[in-house]
């Protein structure tokens, strides 16, 4: 079992979701996060004064999948989130030690859906 964690552009969420749906991956959690990568933020002007914005708004996407779906999930996120410009984000794939589906009490790969 794998936990796929991706940090993506907020405006790419819909595209990523559509790509995931196309691969029949429907389970996910999405949270708002602030973060920065190599591009170190951007500048904004407010009432004529330049301000540095170091932490950018990103979305954190978490998807628990069985091993054979991990690659497809990564593919889907890549397809939806890639614009080719700085700030596209990163994808991490983590080993997942255990999983329990609370309602049904299923454990292991069956719990991943």
């Amino acid at each position: 079992m794998k936990l796929v964690v991706a940090y993506i552009r907020p405006e790419c969420l819909n595209a990523v979701k559509q790509e995931l749906y196309a691969k029949k991956i429907y389970n996910m959690s999405v949270t708002n996060v602030l973060g920065s990568g190599r591009q170190k933020g951007f500048t904004e002007t407010y009432r004529g004064v330049v301000m540095e914005v170091n932490l950018l708004k990103k979305l954190r996407l978490e998807i628990g999948v069985n091993d054979d779906f991990a690659e497809q999930a990564v593919e889907a996120i890549n397809a939806g989130a890639r614009t080719g410009k700085e700030g596209d984000g990163v994808i991490f794939v983590l080993e997942c030690a255990a999983a329990v589906r609370i309602r049904t009490q299923e454990t292991g790969p069956a719990a991943m859906g």
Partner: protein
């Protein structure tokens, strides 16, 4: 009277002497007050000015409605559009639009004098009235202009919108306005527009103001195209919910408040009719909200908040043409029908025609404006205004004239809107890039966020 009293009761007691003295000192003061009573002329000026100030307050109303019904990432852009169309529209109307709308008539189609109020003497009573009238008309022109921003919200280039605002207040609005209202300023001396010469009734501007704005908004929405993600690949309409319904609700109440300047103020005269015009305006707004609420409740199972808010505006737009001609009972019915019509229209334009109008501007102002204009032909009541509609035994001539007027103004405003937006599309472009649209126009067009420090949740 006081003189008589003095003669019959005087000289009896010292107290009476004192009273008489008091009266004697008061009497000249009263006579003075009588001489300085507000003349009809000054009353008209004062009432028109107060009404114009109320109509100006419709600008924040429009800004709030449009802001609330769009997404958080575009809120500042909508506000800028509303600020811009008023700030550009009022001077442009003064310099160009007013002369085309109210100047020396040419063939009933447009005016040709009075640009920048040239020749107006501000020391004369007539000149003072002219400038008051200009102020009143300029806030009306700005109202027509500001309707458009809602229909093309969330994806239109700000630079293109500036040009649209100028073109609307300089030319599109004044030309059709001239057709229906030209003689309001110069009377017979400067000539009448062709529609008013036919007897077209649009008391406060269901057609002249609201339909014009609504139809240009519709043309804009067609040319600019739907927002990203509004329609699925197979053409199904998706909801893009507004981010702040409380703001939109406050905006509707503010518009409603301002409408008590818009309709009763359109008398530009202080007389006994302003009271019943206010009653009619209130009635139609109430039943508009009720009609939309009940209809949405039956159709979708819940009394939809945003549709009910649109319903109140629909009732207000619909009663604007006939507020001087119909009875309060007629107003109740016109408002109720407009409230139902606006939902049918919003869903038809959104789901069948597949035109993306985020706030329903074309339905509220265009469709309900036409409905209100036509309704005068049926509901014009004896004793109210100067005409009698079909429901009260009048002939069908008024209805025919109303239909011609509504159709002609549709053709002009929608046609001119299409031409204007198409020219802009081919030259400077009317639409932001896909990336800018996804990020939101606040950051990409204006370089700042509307809700800095708030977490805006993305769930699209």
């Amino acid at each position: 009277m006081f003189e008589e009293k003095k003669q019959t009761t005087a000289l009896l007691r010292p107290k009476v002497w004192a009273l008489t003295l008091l009266l004697a000192t008061l009497t000249p003061a009263m006579a003075f007050a009588e001489g300085e009573a507000l003349s009809q002329e000054h009353g008209n000026l004062l009432w028109t000015l107060i009404a114009a100030i109320l109509v100006m307050f419709m600008q924040p109303g429009f800004a709030l409605v449009e802001m609330g019904f769009s997404r958080a990432k575009n809120a500042g852009n909508i506000l800028m559009k509303n600020l811009l169309d008023f700030s550009a529209g009022v001077p442009v109307f003064f310099l160009v639009g007013f002369g085309i709308m109210f100047g020396q008539d040419i063939a009933g189609f447009f005016g040709s004098s009075g640009f920048a109020m040239s020749g107006v003497d501000p020391t004369s009573a007539a000149g003072q009235w002219d400038l008051t009238f200009l102020f009143f008309q300029s806030v009306f022109a700005a109202t027509a202009a500001t309707i458009i921003s809602g229909g093309i919200a969330e994806r239109t280039k700000f630079s293109a919108y500036i040009i649209v605002s100028i073109a609307v207040t300089a030319l599109i609005y004044p030309v059709s306005g001239h057709w229906a209202w030209a003689s309001l300023w110069g009377g017979d001396e400067l000539g009448a527009g062709w529609l008013e010469a036919m007897g077209f009734i649009d008391f406060a501007g269901s057609t002249v103001v609201h339909s014009v704005g609504g139809w240009i908004a519709l043309a804009g929405a067609i040319v600019v195209g739907p927002r990203l993600g509004k329609y699925t690949a197979d053409g199904k309409a998706k909801a893009i919910p507004g981010h702040n319904i409380p703001l939109a609700g406050l905006g509707v109440f503010i518009l409603w408040f301002g409408w008590f300047g818009f309709n009763p103020g359109s008398t530009t005269t202080v007389d006994g009719t302003i009271g019943y015009i206010a009653v009619n305006t209130a009635m139609a707004a109430c039943t508009g909200a009720l009609g939309a609420m009940i209809f949405a409740w039956i159709k979708h199972g819940k009394p939809d908040t945003s549709m009910s808010l649109n319903g109140a505006l629909a009732g207000l737009v619909a009663i604007t043409a006939g507020c001087y001609e119909v009875s309060p009972v007629g107003s109740l019915i016109i408002g109720l029908l407009a409230g139902i019509l606006v939902i049918i229209s919003i869903e038809f334009i959104d789901q069948v025609l597949k035109i993306d109008d985020p706030v329903g501007a074309s339905s509220v102002h265009g469709v309900c404006g036409v409905f209100g204009t036509i309704a005068v032909g049926f509901f014009a009541a004896p004793g109210y205004g100067d005409n009698v509609g079909i429901f009260y035994g009048g002939g069908s001539e008024i209805l025919v004239t109303q239909l011609i007027g509504a159709a002609a103004v549709f053709a002009w405003a929608f046609g001119a809107g299409l031409v204007l937006f198409t020219i802009l599309k081919m030259t400077i472009g009317v639409r932001v890039t896909q990336e800018e649209e996804l990020k939101g126009l606040d950051i990409t067009e204006h370089g700042m966020e509307s809700y800095n420090g708030f977490q805006i949740f993305t769930n699209e």
